[in-house]
Symmetry: C2
Subunit: 416 residues, 2 copies
Amino acid sequence: MKIAIVHCGELLTLRGARRPRIGAELRDLAIVRDGVVVLEDERITYAGAADGIKIPGGADVIDARGRVVMPGFVDAHTHLVFGGDRVAEFEQRIGGATYETIAAAGGGILATVAATRAATEDDLLRSARGRLQWMIRGGTTSLEIKSGYGLSLDAELKILHVIRALRQESGLRVAATFLGAHTVPPELKGQPEAYLDHVIAEMLPVVGREHLAEYADVFCERGAFDPAQSRRYLSAAHEHGFKLRAHVDQLSRSGGAELAAELGCVTADHLEQSDAAGIAALRTANVQPVLLPGSVYALGKSKYADARAMIDAGLAVVLATDFNPGSSPVPSMPFVLSLAATQMRMTPAEAITAATFNAAHSLGWGAELGSLEASKRADVVIHDCHDHRELAYYVGVEPAAVVIAGGRIVHQRTDE
Amino acid sequence: MKIAIVHCGELLTLRGARRPRIGAELRDLAIVRDGVVVLEDERITYAGAADGIKIPGGADVIDARGRVVMPGFVDAHTHLVFGGDRVAEFEQRIGGATYETIAAAGGGILATVAATRAATEDDLLRSARGRLQWMIRGGTTSLEIKSGYGLSLDAELKILHVIRALRQESGLRVAATFLGAHTVPPELKGQPEAYLDHVIAEMLPVVGREHLAEYADVFCERGAFDPAQSRRYLSAAHEHGFKLRAHVDQLSRSGGAELAAELGCVTADHLEQSDAAGIAALRTANVQPVLLPGSVYALGKSKYADARAMIDAGLAVVLATDFNPGSSPVPSMPFVLSLAATQMRMTPAEAITAATFNAAHSLGWGAELGSLEASKRADVVIHDCHDHRELAYYVGVEPAAVVIAGGRIVHQRTDE
């Protein structure tokens, strides 16, 4: 299967984005005007100027005149697989309940745990498939998905099996993260240490042995796990061969950024409450910050992570949706770009780099995804706008006209 | 042409919303489960329970099982017709420039005035048509459009002709508002009084005589027109037979709400800076507040209008997009619902009422639009969600599956 995308209005190759971790150049999208992208089977064979490139015979030709062509978004932090929804709780929060008080009353994450435990693997697969379609409609072609709404061996395995099935059926690159330490399950209420004993003794070995997840993650937060507990869990996960990601400094500042640095986490996620010391620690340990403005927005808060300080410190910031039913019902990467631009003062170019190239590196996919270059995977999106800045500018529209993942068209807009 | 929409998962009739101005009941969407809507030509002939209604022969039947069926959104404040865009300025604002400093430097509204003056009527129609399509994709079936990027008789007439053409070709209900007093044009810089003399003597009579606009509007704000100037202009417009709307108390508090009340405006729009006295004045004079959270969001500000105080005061709050290229590149009414819920603590039911029933009344369309009842206009949207609260909950997706305006399907989602 050969596809040639020709006359690209703006072809964002991101070829200049050479230093993905420390000191990344976040401003250079290496834009080619009237460029061409050639895809052969799963790979890009050419991306650049039209001069001197011959379109291979038999290629399907797509005219992208006046349109933006770019790498698919890499959504590096999602909780896509769960049972039920939380619209009732959403209404309670409007009435004044906080995320924390709802959780303390058995709602919040635990409500989703109950619904997820009650769901069959088929139920979970079907609902996650619908949400994945929303993401693809926004231009996402690869993503990370966490478990963490099971909190028992069986229920966590059920979620991880669904993630595996989504990977297989969608053809998208999907990374799995084991988030057994998301919160303490109701049957061990008030006993986080006892629950972690169980996670470490019973869950980590099985998940690791069956290669169901590449990463382990923890929710280090008041009401979930404190830094000492998080350290114990992450250290055990490391011994079982997991690479580490961690939810830190979201609702309260607990030194989570420093903890992530100390343990050599690949990413530290959220960081809304992190200060200069935390940012310096991430810098020293080469940890990528994953910023999740969707949850700040959806919770009606106004303290976003200090993206400017992180960029100025030379960190290769990542942006992701944090899609989940409680704090971030946001499947759309373009909306995350909008939040980054309007609420966090990231330029559109910085935000796009954070949502593609930097995000790919945070998942170990830097050699394969995140830019348009020969030999990289054919994850390419044609957006129905003429200037890449429009992706962060217009809000609430789905800009993607054609979405290609692994050389296959997975979405095409054909409204009537 | 007959259409029967059957098995509606949630049919939001809004039949209970009886008092559109003072003391409106904002909470009752009058939801029917498994309901039926019958459309015959341009009208609704039935909307309610399935019991006892016979589907007319020859009707196209649409199964809306598991879906939300509701009136189309009525977007009561937009600036849809303009030349150019303002993405470059968007980037400047990220770099720290304010909306007001950009305007003072000849950017902002004046940049759009220059681009609009340079555009042909065809250019303007073509670009507005594309943006209208975005709105329709969000579930909007009727709207108000303002002029105001011309600021000369010819250029204002050009915009008003485009609005008329959009109304004719789209089949949507479109109200036109003359916003000659949007700002002072560059050729009369520093001379707002001289410009208003011209508007009052040369523009208002022509626009009124040719029936090109039903409403007149003013931007009462620092750098545009002060309250005394706004009063002079609106009073003249009233004498020429225009009904009045006014942009007040957006960036600074100038007593604009009180002015709108004094002059008997139909609506007072923005109101982010209005206080309790302003709200009381609106209440006394029966002026509907039109709240525009998209511009607060897109300008990166956090002070939204005090919707709760207005609702508690018994005002029939309206929500609209304020779609424009500078402060609100937001065509999506679902995103406005999201902002209302997450940032202004309006319940989804209040927000939906504000975006349909109350909005229709603010445009004099209360007898025809804004609820699903026999004899009303067949403006009906089928949303791809099972609970109306999802419209305000998920962000960045286009929920509308089928959009019907005046009995005609104007949008149908058929992705591949």
